[in-house]
Symmetry: C2
Subunit: 542 residues, 2 copies
């Protein structure tokens, strides 16, 4: 009888264990989990803080007992694997409750210990709570006594923002302190600005470019000298792979600290597999080794490792890092590379911003989706996408993720046949729309980005707002003149054939104007994403 | 100056016209529309009947005047093209208001006249109202006086059912009369049964296998002799391509009555293009010529034709026929082929039914999605999918449509990286889930379909319900014994190694039981889709 020892009993580890049993009734399967709980809903933890998920038990999807009953698993919670003896194929396991130690043999070892919160060496950091386990939630809830009225949250990533929303729902005054110039790193700054704007409208305080200098009893101080009063400080700065055990066992570790694995999740020791947040993934766009701490991938790789251990010759798929977060009335999702990443990698991009409605405008309740597409202009390959909006964001990100997996080009998006009824979409879906804009650019239409406007003006481009006089009066880009689209055919002479940068609200009328003026012999470009993208980008600062 | 005449000013025709102008400022563009309105929201019409879309004007997306102003189009409503002189390249146009006729030259002619409601030769059919144009809605609303309390709706397709819901919202007693054995032809019968069940629970009367014999003043009679009392009769039996003009002009017409076109939407006359509901499409699965009367495709082909006329060498994409309908609290969508179609074409299939939640079960508000996948067992290609559920149906259909377009296999669905946060999905999305089930079948797991149970029992299979005793007590399949999954390891001896067909609620525990029993040496199969698919299928009859 062979035996498999699995380190970590949450997403990846437990997927491995359950699948192993379905594939092999006779294998000995031991799962070692350092916390007191296995198979808990980590992505649900922030929502228990507010009571949106009222029952703590509903976070606990399985227990060691239920797993034993159904899958005949030997699950040991509150146990820590302290060492791997690779030669003897044994692990040393410490019982965290009584301190006793034992050694267990393995034929295959699966490392799925997850990640741990990053705790930078800020004076007083030990005062900050974190959120990663069920015990962490219990601790936060225990601290949220009636006299606590304000919380400072260090970190504007997914978990920090989810937690901020849920603390706000409890009536707390929440300040988010983000070291970078924007929250939500997976988004580009002008897209993150939409989220920032929404969170501020809900009453959250968001400080960007804010470096925490010291944490005290009554809050924290920033490097700028500013003092943030807070009854409680929580750190959600990010996570790092839990690779200490692997490192100490001499397994190869990647540059970013994740356990190195091959296309079958094998570490540098063929008897040892690694997966989940602790292991490196292969980036689908570049082929590089990356860290992508997402539950979906952990689960999938758990199933994969179980299949490989039980004799199937299957391989991992490279990762797109598709993700989403819901914050108050907004969702923000992304897939693949953002523009920042492409710039960092020296990859030229074609950028497209569109702001269509999530479903037919004539049907009640339509909401704007802000969608950004990042394209390789040489190959027309989709490098990535981002979307922010009140409804339908998840669908568009999933469709683009699937298109990327299928190797479809950005122009192919124009032809995707997506289900249309007025409650669900439009005859021209937002994804089709992005494809149309891409197709127009392939056919030669020139666009400028929001951050190229100043330069264009300096270069002698005339800025023309083709919206209605009423829209123009409500605010426009400084220096723009108003020439409404429907008057353009009569009044284009006023432009005196100067280089013309047109814009409208979202880019659609601008496209019509660009086509018209170009045919009339005027060198014209359209402002991508229109006034809306430009205006959100202005909100970034401060 | 070249000129293009476009016959039909709704989805396809108007997309052609607007795109033509963006591509060519100088072309003469004439749009001839027989009704009084152009560019109206046909898919929104049923919702104006109830007032869900309260403003009639919001259905009218453009007017001849607004189109002239923005796009310099010559749009003539209430005008009918009565003849095409292909030699002279002229059309004869009749003004339907004053009867006058004129002839207009074209360099390119675009036929997008749409489809007309099928009106079978039932005695009294002229009494039935239909719904296709804004005028039709006006007529229905004019008939819905206070003394009207009941409506008989002939036809259980998309428009009939949407109209039924909206008439029900107005407080009318609605009876749907469908000639086929099921409503919603794009779905297979056991999937349509879920919709039927829902509509009946809302108070609609649905008669299937019901052939209308005669329509009278006070309702209608069926071939069975049954009398259906109704103050108003509406026929929504389906549509046929409006190809009379093309036929009379000698253009090639396909077997199904649609105008034949090539990969660039050219008819048998190279100066004449056709698109929209009047034209044939290429089926993406089989490559056959088919009729797919969907707005999305009409719009897309309008853009395509404009590009081709203005010199781009672009080609159509074959159609998947992705569609969806919202009915009360349910959505029902489909893409590609259903099982019926595959059977008709002699195409072997692998069938998968799953019933996962639309998002994480631990987050409040999760709803079941009933998802069916139709797979080519030889190539693992996805032939089609159907989904029914309260939320998230559109997303899953769109993802599968995109996967089909990208040439992904059914097993590839297991690896799709879809955006997960507890409000939007699960770490294992319903689409992934269908992929997992497919992968299990590829790896050798055997399943039976709901309609194979009786045969299996006759063949000596023991039917084992692996749900809990409490679930078993609430209803099971006749002849099944109860052996709960968690007891199976101890009690499998009771099966005496007989061929065992296991089932649970949705198929998941059945899969675990199948794995277990197979490893224990018992020939085992799992009932695909579990008790839930089987139980819905029972509701089909009657």
């Amino acid at each position: 009888m062979t035996s498999t020892v699995i380190v970590g009993g949450v997403a990846g580890g437990m997927s491995t264990a359950a699948r192993l049993r379905r594939r092999d009734e006779h294998m000995e399967i031991v799962v070692i989990e350092a916390s007191g709980y296995v198979s808990f809903a980590n992505c649900g933890l922030p929502y228990h803080v507010s009571g949106v998920i009222p029952e703590r038990d509903s976070l606990l999807l399985q227990t060691p007992e239920s797993l034993h009953e159904r899958f005949n698993l030997d699950v040991r919670v509150n146990h820590l694997v302290t060492a791997i003896d690779r030669k003897a194929q044994e692990v040393t396991i410490r019982n965290l409750l009584d301190g006793s130690e034992s050694r267990v043999h393995y034929d295959n070892l699966v490392l799925s210990p997850g990640a741990t919160p990053i705790m930078p060496p800020i004076p007083g950091i030990e005062r900050a709570l974190t959120l990663r386990t069920v015990e962490d939630v219990d601790k936060i809830l225990a601290h949220l006594t009636d006299d606590i009225t304000s919380v400072a949250l260090i970190g504007g990533g997914f978990i920090g923002l989810e937690l901020a929303e849920n603390l706000h729902h409890r009536g707390l005054k929440v300040t988010i302190i983000e070291r970078a110039e924007q929250i939500m790193a997976p988004l580009d700054p002008e897209m993150a600005a939409i989220v920032t704007d929404h969170l501020r409208s809900k009453g959250l305080t968001i400080l960007t470019g804010a470096d925490t200098a010291q944490i005290g009893d009554k809050g924290l101080s920033l490097a700028s000298g500013e003092i943030i009063d807070a009854d409680l400080v929580i750190a959600a700065i990010g996570v790092k792979p839990e690779s200490t055990l692997a490192r100490e066992a001499g397994l190869a570790i990647g540059e970013r600290g994740g356990i190195k694995v091959d296309e079958q999740q094998r570490t540098s020791d063929p008897a040892i597999f690694a997966l989940g947040d602790a292991a490196e993934k292969r980036d689908a766009v570049s082929g590089d080794d990356v860290l992508v701490p997402l539950a979906q991938t952990a689960n999938r790789h758990g199933r994969l490792v179980a299949d490989i251990i039980t004799g199937r010759d299957v391989h991992r798929t490279a990762t797109l890092g598709t993700s989403i977060v819901g914050l108050f009335d907004l969702a923000a999702g992304s897939v693949g590379w953002n523009e920042k990443r492409a710039a960092l990698m020296g990859q030229p991009t074609r950028i497209i911003h569109v702001h269509p409605a999530n479903h037919a405008g004539y049907y009640p309740g339509a909401e704007t989706i802000h969608l950004k597409l990042v394209v390789n202009p040489e190959t027309d390959a989709i490098l990535g996408a981002q979307a922010v909006g009140a409804a339908g964001v998840d669908k568009r990100i999933d469709v683009i993720a699937t298109a990327m997996r299928g190797g479809l080009t950005a122009t192919d998006l124009a032809d995707l046949e997506l289900a249309y009824a007025p409650q669900f979409g439009s005859a021209k879906d937002p994804v089709n729309f992005a494809g149309f804009v891409n197709d127009n650019m392939v056919a030669g239409e020139r666009t400028f980005q929001w951050n190229q406007v100043d330069e264009a003006i300096n270069d002698g481009w005339t800025l023309v707002d083709v919206r209605t006089p009423a829209e123009f009066a409500e605010g426009t880009i400084t220096g723009a003149i108003n020439l409404p689209l429907d008057d353009l055919r009569e009044r284009f002479g006023e432009l005196e054939s100067k280089k013309t940068l047109v814009f409208c609200r979202v880019g659609l009328r601008g496209h019509v104007a660009t086509s018209l003026l170009t045919h009339l012999g005027i060198e014209t470009a359209n402002l991508d994403g229109g006034f809306m993208t430009w205006e959100y980008a202005q909100k970034m600062e401060g």
